[in-house]
Symmetry: C3
Subunit: 328 residues, 3 copies
């Protein structure tokens, strides 16, 4: 799908420095792009690659326009503009509507006519599926769950009973929303299961990664705000609340009943213990363990960078010795 630079500039509200008649048929990285391709450059650290680019055009900030050897689309936020341009140049296939062979839809379910129910997808009693939703193969939407318009469940997603989902949410393969939280009361001969009577509520524009799991609440709901983005293999415990536009990288574990503010950024493999509160705008760098409430905004860390093992072993030995030393 080729579009002229002039058309792109108009459609995406960008200033064009260059020939508006040149055609663009796709995107490519700055260093690898060839003729017909659009690349992006976010800042001066890529100036060298910019100078050498063979792309037909580059999205960049005004400060780099003079350094651009080819056509430039000037943006205050080149990365966001590029994301929109790339989506325009490579539009996703439109959602089919209808019901595939092997799908099973309970009689009491309400499925929009514009929605697609894929092969062997199982839609339970009382389920509501909004307009233009796409339910992938082998997905399970249990009784009473509700999906807003334009949601997309890829293959093998499980939405448990009574979970409520906003519009435009995306679920990657293997995601599980609303399984029972990990609640067990110790007793003399083992553990007694605590019934998990709450549900999960997701806002609009939530993105849930592959094999990510979000547990339902015990007595109240687990709540995920608008625009939250969860990467793959994230675990969200029961009763958690995550504020709008917070981003959580892969392999993060969030224990039960923790409250995370809006516009936070949680780095990969972070662990957050339960029953604490993280303020708005908090950044936690990768591999950190959050053990207490953190006021926001702020940046917090406890990850240790790997070094040569022999040196590291000496470091650990010295560290363990610290506790035995007298206060200096």
């Amino acid at each position: 799908m080729a579009i002229t630079l002039g058309e792109l500039a108009v459609r995406f509200g960008l200033e064009l420095a260059g020939d508006p008649g040149e055609a663009i048929d796709g995107v490519a990285p700055l260093g690898a792009a060839g003729p017909g391709k659009l690349a992006f450059c976010t800042g001066p650290r890529y100036r060298k690659q910019l100078a050498a680019t063979r792309a037909t055009a580059v999205v960049l900030p005004r400060e780099l326009a003079a350094d651009c050897p080819v056509a430039a689309l000037i943006s205050e936020n080149p990365y966001a503009s590029f994301a929109r341009l790339a989506a325009g140049l490579h539009p996703p296939a439109p959602v089919k509507s209808g019901v595939a062979a092997g799908a099973q839809i309970a009689e009491s379910a309400t499925v929009a006519e514009s929605a697609w129910i894929g092969p062997c997808a199982i839609i339970g009693a009382g389920v509501v599926i909004g307009e233009r939703c796409s339910i992938g193969p082998n997905c399970v939407v249990e009784d009473g769950a509700r999906l807003g318009d334009d949601c997309r469940l890829q293959a093998g997603v499980t939405i448990c009973h009574d979970v409520a989902i906003g519009a435009r949410c995306v679920f990657k393969p293997g995601a599980v929303i609303g399984s029972d939280g990990f609640g067990f009361a110790p007793d003399v001969d083992g553990y007694v299961k605590v019934p998990q009577l709450g549900s999960v509520r997701l806002g609009n524009d939530v993105d849930v990664g592959a094999n990510t799991t979000i547990d339902r609440g015990t007595m109240e709901d687990t709540v995920i705000g608008d625009g939250v983005k969860l990467d793959n293999q994230v675990q969200v415990g029961h009763n958690c609340r995550i504020g709008a536009h917070t981003v959580v990288a892969g392999c993060v574990g969030i224990s039960g009943s923790s409250i995370i503010g809006s516009r936070c950024m949680i780095g990969g493999a972070v662990g957050i213990v339960g029953h604490l509160e993280i303020g708005d705008g908090v950044i936690v760098t990768g591999f950190s363990m959050v053990t207490q409430s953190l006021p926001g905004p702020g940046i917090y860390s406890s990850g240790l960078p790997a070094i040569e093992s022999a040196t590291w072993r000496r470091t650990v030995a010295r560290l363990h010795r610290l506790a035995r030393e007298k206060k200096s």
Copy 2:
């Protein structure tokens, strides 16, 4: 489903301080409960919430009975009592029996008449499914696997060939039991797969979280004891043995051939290396790495709490310097 306080007291063996005729129709948190609701209070730290509660009744320890402004159900273990009361007030739907459309059951499988085989569930040759089991949609039970009575597989669970499971086990969506362990022998041109000829044996009352994985043994079985509770996204390597009533929180990884005692508590995101032994009653706090055998009982840790990043960076620099310093 409303039940009088008097009936609850008798049925669950609790002492009632209050009007036995008051009706309870559900549970709610102490701070949010309204009329008709039962809440719980485990200790004096919640005294203030207790004083302000609008619940109709509260399960609590004797020491707090005098502080309770409403009816009280007195228990030596209020949390366990509450779990049982909540299950009584909100009973799970009874398991249906029969076979859903799209399910496939091998001729040589033995499925109890009282069991439910959900849509598109695949039951292999020689499989045994006990009384009142519920096999959810899109589950796969491979050849030769055996499930005791009252097991519940939610959606998309995989039980691999010849795995043996006790009674009353629960498997949340996406759990995988009995996939091949990670065994590869290094050789001159890469790795040779070591056949994984053992299986997995689970006791009774085991709970397996969403997307949790338990590998089959190499030559002997991986063994999970009675009453073990595994949270979501736990990984148990081949040949491990986990003792009865041990609880493992989310995102824990247990390497192969490790032996964990009974009644242990393993915190979230803990890593346990292989070929070691953890005694009975050991507690490992979250985000710790267990590198050697630990006698039990005892509490062990190595997690680092996150602090402000600027301070943390200085701490790391000082830490790395330690190894270079002369012994003081």
Copy 3:
């Protein structure tokens, strides 16, 4: 399936010290093996178990042959030889061919006649499935994906659109290959999704663990080299490249755009941040965080071993104090 020692020695090219007529019908651990069983012993640290073994024969290095009380198969690499012998004695069931009930294959897909498509497996448009592939129950192979010969997808595996896979790759249950990478551009009112237009390419003999996820690239492909072995619950971010014969243990997270060399060994629960390069032959020990490029070969670490909690708390307090102290 019983085979004589003489036949095993010839077939696997090993020197036999003992009676070539003795029959072997399976493998077992050195300490548990009984008559008819073959065990292995890799080094002098198992000398005591070797002396006491009741196995009929043991695979071992020449240096231990004199200590072996029973027949010995002598190998320069006893573990690799044992892996091959075990596979010979316990051959996997041959792959069936054909299409199971409930499977759905798009008309434009090309499926080898010798391949097996399991129950409720969904094969998309333009897919190519090589000779003797086995596609397990409830697997999904999306449009345009290509699998080489002899690949094995166990239950519930998802191969996303246009992913290219070599020969003899194994995918354990719940693995997800080619879901969209985690790319979002921050903008004034939240995040804009960055289209993920690349794919995933896997070499030959790649092993992918249960519930492991590999994201597709943004503009170029994520690339996994020949013979790479990924354990369960590994996460590989978009645009990563992993060199041949690298082994990644369970629960590892690799952030986007990182390049890992060949013949590396990445320990369990390691976290690797994005946009860095790890050289050939690097070993990263378990629970380490890699924050910068690491030259290879070399061994790197930052994991902290768990100790008694009371001592650990004092250690952490002293550590945090370090940053506040004057340089000594």
